[in-house]
Amino acid sequence: MKPMLANESLIAAQHVSKSFPLPEGKGEHLVLREVSLTVRSGEVVSLLGRSGSGKSTLLRIMAGLIPPSQGQVFSNGKPLRGANHDVAMVFQSFALLPWLTVQENVELGLDARGVHREERRQRALKAIDLVGLDGFESAYPKELSGGMKQRVGFARAFVLQPQVLFMDEPFSALDVLTAENLRGEIDDLWNAGTFPSQSILIVTHNIEEAVFLADRVIILGSNPGRIRGEVVIDLPRSHDRAHPHFKELVDYIYTAMTNPELKVTGAVSAKLPVSTPPVAPVSPYAQHLPHVRVGGISGLLELIVESTQGEADVYQVADRLRLTVDDLLPLLEAADLLNFAEVTQGDIKLTASGRDFATTTILRSKDLFRQQILEHVPMLVSMVQTLREKRNGSMRADFFLDLLDEHFPHEEAERQFATAVDWGRYAELFEYDASEDRIYLPESVTAVSSEEPS
């Protein structure tokens, strides 16, 4: 084990908020709100959150790459201004310079610090050795496989012997096996006490990865990004995936992530309370739709019906489908929203209409889907009403986009709109003409509605 200098704070973010200006001066988009986080020496901390929750932004603020809008970052007790010199980073896309050899890439940081040529070479060779790349010193990145490229990324960070090593989803660009292998090696290096940094802060959206590597998992909520709570991984290092408590921890975190309203206490053995229904949003256009296609929802439900008689453990489903949280969670959320399934305690259970939806014919499933939408998605109900009130039964898309813009950053508003259109089209509630950018009621409906007195 590493010699622990317990509780020595290395890097601390205090009440950090960050907003980015929206394009064309349309106000600001709040990405992080009041985030406080401390990395102490000797620990591995994992930041877990769904994509878009601001993990990378937080990491970059703590690395001094971008300034916070509010709050401060302290590095070794001193407020940070400018790039944090006590930190090295491993990037998701490796960030290697393709025109430099492996060795030149690794030497980059030393060169910048003015280390002399011979010493630079010695230290780089040592780091390259440590990540198992000896023999590849003079290769160019494009000659290497993805896993080897990321090893260069690690060597480039190791050679600087930073206090804290930052990693931004370092394994997510690799295929499953390569990622598993490299993750294991990094973990071994840490457990052996020979790791070239005192602490690690790793960003991920893979729950299992977080529990496997970290001593502490910090769960980030979305929209805006904020800290929901932390889960201490009280397992002996290295964390054994077969340990029953490992599964308990993963289940707990899954439940927390699938239920954004739950309070994360970190008390794993006391089960999380069953989800309370969220307070109905004020405007129908403030409702957040999970961005999934209808085919995705029915695909998931079919799988669950076929293989598990309608009830399954979320963690197992994810594992079997090789889906990351980011892919799976929106699907679950949608199934939950449309009342096709109930998701509790890390389990998913189909409802009667969910079973029906998963097994019936396409025409009937459209009916079912429409029914559920009209019952549970006020935004689409409101859109249909608006169209009906118009004499020609049609409306410019901008109209709805503007309504969404009031509740979401523009980019998100566009995605909301796209999802709504996808769902509405499938349910045959309305049609959408992309070239004219208009939404209109299908022919039969217009005929019916014109007969109705309104």
Binding site: R60, H85, F91, A95, L108, R113, Y140, L160
Partner: protein, 577 residues
């Protein structure tokens, strides 16, 4: 017998220096001698109008003249590169500077270079009295202005699109400004910059030929070079000399391509961003030779300590800045003041120009030039339509046949860089003999240079259409016009737009020398904005020169904004493959 006098390859390999080294040394020496010989010529004294260098039409002198022109081209290329690096760097790193520099670049790109010659020639001659250097500089400047804007744009774009994570890595690892520039920014811009430089260099031959022999402000100026040889041949009515000149320029273009651009392109392949090895790396025998030779590497090794020291020194001067001191509210206020200042300056300039034009030539003249502009615009339009109708089918046929494409693409590139003004005299002769009015003939002259961009981009566009789509089209039985409508036209649209912009820009520029041509004593003139500028330049009528250039720039900028940009947007969004 002969064989024994040469050592075997094995023996050569045993020598400290290989055959490759010998050729590298010889090549370097020849190059140095050439530059020295050509450079000496520029220092000849010159006192217009009495002492003006004369041109000897004997073809033996052609290599020398061609060498002089080539030297000019390379000096201009060097200046363009330096300018590009500085201007692009500043624009990419200062948001405020960019707000002036980028629109300015956009406008400068649209200004007809040839219309400027009058201003620059007088200026540079005044700068270097009693020496040819003034003319030399004016010619170099003309070439410079014809190629630099493209290069600068490309460099600026590359700097702006350096992958975010790479840039963050550079910041986090505390690269100094200098290290960032040499290790990250210039390398990531190299490929785009080189291609642009190569294309612009090709276009530059046209301007070197046009700028060596000009009459400005009732003065005839001649600068020894292949362009002035051409001009002399036209005055002397010697078709044979014209033929020799065309042949020489063709050889020079091929030589420069083989000895300079190919090796550079082959070398630059290592700067490609894609993280995987490329299937088809560009090849060059000169580059292979340089790589095989030991001398460059030995010299490189010997120079390492020096470059290390230099780098360290420059790095110390450009320490990484702390990036985190930004007060957003202050900034927006300063920005507003800045915007106001800019608007004031622009307004003052506009008023001044208007005042100048109104007090000198009057509104009627403005209306007249506008009418002339419309005529030239009509010519450019006809040219684009005809070139499109003729060359896109040819280009698509070539593009769909990979073997043919590989064979013909360098040929088309060569044709694009072959200066059209070397063909002009032949065309002029033809027009005179067949009594074709230059009002129509000038369209052909303008097309001589511009059409190749359409062809080249059609080929590229057709190559970009995925084979799957073509097979699908055959499978569902798309034929003839339907096939064009559904598959080919949408497929090549964005490439065609790129080609169209380039061709139209080139045609406007060429109009200045295409709308007025001569053979011996006879001169043909077309009615248009190009001939208006050319005539004003010849007599040194400043107000009319200004008005003509301004009107032409207005046309080009307007067309770019109103027409090409729309098409570009359409290509980017709807027809993106």
């Amino acid at each position: 017998m002969l064989k024994r006098t040469f050592p075997s390859p094995e023996a050569l390999r045993r020598l400290p220096f290989g055959l490759a080294d010998v050729s590298v040394i010889l090549g370097t020496l020849v190059l140095l001698a050439l530059v020295a010989r050509l450079g000496a010529g520029t220092l000849i004294s010159f006192h217009p109008p009495d002492i003006v260098p004369s041109i000897d039409l004997n073809p033996h002198h052609l290599p020398y003249y061609a060498g002089r022109s080539t030297l000019r081209m390379f000096i201009a290329l060097f200046c363009s590169t330096v300018f590009t690096l500085v201007y692009g760097y500043i624009a990419a790193h200062s948001r405020r500077a960019a707000r002036v520099m980028i629109p300015l670049l956009d406008i400068l790109q649209s200004v007809p270079v040839l219309g400027f010659l009058s201003i620059t020639v007088t200026g540079f001659i005044a700068l270097f009295p009693g020496s040819l250097l003034g003319l030399e500089a004016a010619s170099v400047f003309a070439i410079f202005t014809s190629q630099v804007w493209n290069m600068t744009f490309s460099f600026y774009q590359s700097l702006r699109t350096v992958p975010n994570e790479l840039s963050e890595a550079a910041t986090l690892y505390q690269l100094s400004g200098w290290q960032r520039f040499t290790k990250l920014e210039v390398p990531s811009a190299t490929i785009g910059l080189l291609w642009n430089a190569m294309m612009s260099f090709g276009g530059g031959w046209f301007f070197v030929a046009a700028s060596e022999a000009i009459s400005v402000l009732n003065q005839k100026y001649t600068l020894p070079g292949i362009g002035s040889y051409l001009a002399a041949a036209i005055v002397a009515e010697k078709p044979a000399a014209l033929g020799w000149a065309a042949l020489t320029i063709a050889i020079v273009i091929i030589l420069v391509d083989q000895l300079f651009w190919r090796p550079l392109i082959a070398w630059s392949d290592k700067f490609r961003m894609e993280q995987s090895a490329s299937a088809e790396a560009p090849e060059s025998w000169v580059y292979d030779l340089l790589k095989a030779a030991r001398i460059p590497r030995l010299m490189g090794n010997a120079l390492t300590p020096i470059s290390e020291t230099t780098n360290r020194f420059l790095s110390a001067l450009t320490r990484p800045r702390s990036t985190l001191t930004m007060d957003t509210s202050r900034q927006t206020k300063d920005d507003r003041v800045y915007t106001l200042l800019l608007l004031l300056v622009i307004g003052a300039l506009a008023v001044w120009t208007l005042h100048f034009i109104l007090t000198t030539v009057g509104l009627a003249e403005v209306a007249k030039t506008f009418g002339l502009g419309l005529l030239t615009f009509l010519r450019v339009t006809v040219l684009l339509i005809v070139a499109t109708v003729i060359w896109t089918p040819v280009g698509v046929a070539i593009g769909f046949n990979p073997k043919l494409a590989r064979l013909l693409q360098p040929v088309v590139l060569f044709l694009a860089s072959f200066p059209a003004n070397f063909i002009f005299p032949f065309a002029t002769l033809f027009f005179i003999q067949t009594h074709i009015s230059l009002n129509w003939g000038s369209i052909v002259l303008m097309a001589l240079g511009a059409q190749w961009y359409i062809l080249f981009n059609s080929i590229a566009g057709a190559q970009n259409i995925p084979t799957d789509l073509r097979e699908m089209a055959a499978d569902v039985g798309l034929k003839g016009w339907k096939r064009w409508q559904k598959l080919i036209i949408p497929g090549i649209f964005s490439s065609w737009v790129t080609g169209g912009i380039t061709a139209s820009g080139g045609a406007w520029n060429a109009s200045i020398i295409s709308e007025i041509v001569s053979w011996g004593q006879s001169t043909l003139t077309a009615t248009g904005l190009g001939s208006y500028i050319a005539q004003a330049t010849e007599v040194g009528d400043w107000p009319r020169i200004t008005l003509g250039i301004a009107m032409m720039s207005l046309f080009v900028v307007g067309l770019n904004r109103l027409f090409w940009r729309q098409l570009y947007h359409l290509a980017e969004t709807k027809y993106h493959l």
